[in-house]
Amino acid sequence: MSTVAIALESSNDEIGGMEGVKSRRWAGPQEGRGDERPFGFVACVCKTRPIQSMQSKRASLNQHHFGAPSVMSTINVLTKEVAEEDDPFYLNEFTAIDDDAAECLSEQCSDLQLNGLTFLSDAAAESLSKHLEYLRLNGLTSLSDRAARSLAKYRGDLCLDGLTDLSDDAAISFGKQCCNVSLCGLASLSDVAADSLSKHRGGLALNGLEHLSDVAAEKLSKMEGVLELDGLSDLSDAASASLSKHREYLGLNGLAVLSDSSAASLSLHDGRLSLNGLTNLSEAAASSLSKHKGDLSLSGLTRLSDTTAECLSRNQGDLWLCGIARISDAAAASLCKHHGNLGLYGLTEISDTAAQHLSKHSGRLSLYGLKFLSAASAQYLQSNAAISINSSVLPDFCSMEEIVQYFVEVELPPYN
């Protein structure tokens, strides 16, 4: 079966959502042997089931079929008629949009999902830019500079995670934007584009970037607003030093290793710092990060040494250690001195001594992960109203007899 003309191929039974849908632009005639459509044309091919079988009335009304010997290609056009329906929010099954439909949708105030669109006309982009709230166009793999200029005027949250490259002109346009924009499909960013985007005022998600030059890091550090760089798996000391000057949430959740010098630099960052990819932290790095002024998230750590706990307890913002499943009594004694909110969602069990220590914590303490709690531990933790525990936590049973009595209403078949 030929699949050369596929622009959107469904990897599961659903063609509507972005989940499981891989987008690919039909790049050139060499990929389209045997098919006479011009390259750049974008079609939708449902490999797992024909689109006619979908339950949506909208889907059956607006498709144009292109005959092919072995595959069924369909463009599913979003028309004004559909856009005027009562609930025009989840429109991911549409692969193209009429300009007047875009105009119609621009008047809606909603979470508008158009993730199936693989092409957007300049006129449609201009119309959609007037929409408010949340606009998702994750199926677009490229955007004309004019369309980018229009979308840069958007005043809600804009998702363009399908874009795989960004022209310098488009970067200039998005740099003038003051809303949250997600460009997580970009695998690289030129220094020029980084310079333009540094002027962006609002959140910027660039989680597809795997590498960031020192120059680009320096430029992006000047950005005002949330900066997400979760795709970076390593960071030079120079880039760390630059990013430490950023003043807002900084997401570096892809980093699996953090050098002591990078930790020292990032400790100077003023804002929320998220390093959830780290599974280990040296004592020197922990000591540096303890000086960080702002919230610190280290939820990738699965173990917490007593020394690391002692260091991190000096952090003055909220501290998130949601990957820790067990905690020593000494670590609990240290963490109870922490000022700020403390998230220990991953903790599944706790000793009575550790519970006694943590009950003295001064900020809010989240212990939702606890599944079992002894009577003594429960008493300690419940003495502090700022401590949150899952209401369905079970007593830490001491015998099978107690368990059977506790769950007496559960009927079990005989085993032997």
Partner: protein, 184 residues
């Protein structure tokens, strides 16, 4: 109609051998692990009776395992001795009903896997169970009359000089074939 014959291989271990993982140092930990696992299963079953979250297959499996735990470990408590815990673990697969029921053997296998994963995370978990009834049909060098636990991937094959020479002669990488000859 016909007879299907399968050839199997692996390291087979008795429940008696597996009980070596219980020692004085981890005795209380094992007790708590088994008690908490039982409570978690029963909580899930209780919740299911209220909210029907489990599918029928999962519900039955959880019921079988909860039954096994509450009956085989009926007298378990956090003060149970090493010998008592070992006896209860062996008891999971000693009844005639369990010897004849693969599904129940696999529930016991899951309990052993739980303990092994917790106490020896680098060690393999058993992949299957086997009960040898007839040595003539099933093999003479295996313990008879008890449920055995199978660990399949404990050896690796290394090509001999002959094997390498054969590959060179044939111009391709050969692989080892296994078969069983059945004589009525």
């Amino acid at each position: 109609m016909g007879v299907d014959i399968y050839s199997n291989s692996g390291v087979v271990v008795t429940a008696e051998q597996l009980t070596a993982i219980v020692c004085e140092e981890n005795r209380e930990h094992i007790c708590r692990l088994l008690l908490r696992h039982t409570a978690t299963l029963l909580k899930s079953l209780k919740s299911n009776s209220e909210f029907a979250q489990l599918n029928e297959s999962n519900r039955q499996s959880q019921q079988r395992q909860a039954s096994l735990l509450t009956q085989a470990f009926q007298s378990l408590n956090i003060a149970s001795s090493v010998e008592e815990i070992r006896a209860m673990l062996k008891g999971m697969t000693q009844s005639e009903v369990v010897k004849e029921c693969k599904a129940k053997q696999l529930e016991a296998l899951d309990i052993w896997s739980l303990l092994i994963n917790e106490l020896h995370p680098n060690a393999p978990s058993p992949e299957d169970t086997v009960f040898i009834g007839s040595p003539r049909y099933q093999g003479w060098d295996l313990p008879r009359g008890e449920v055995l636990f199978v660990f399949r991937y404990c050896f690796e094959q290394v090509k001999t000089q002959d094997g390498r020479a054969l590959d060179e002669m044939l111009g391709e990488k050969t692989s080892l074939a296994t078969w069983t000859t059945y004589s009525a």
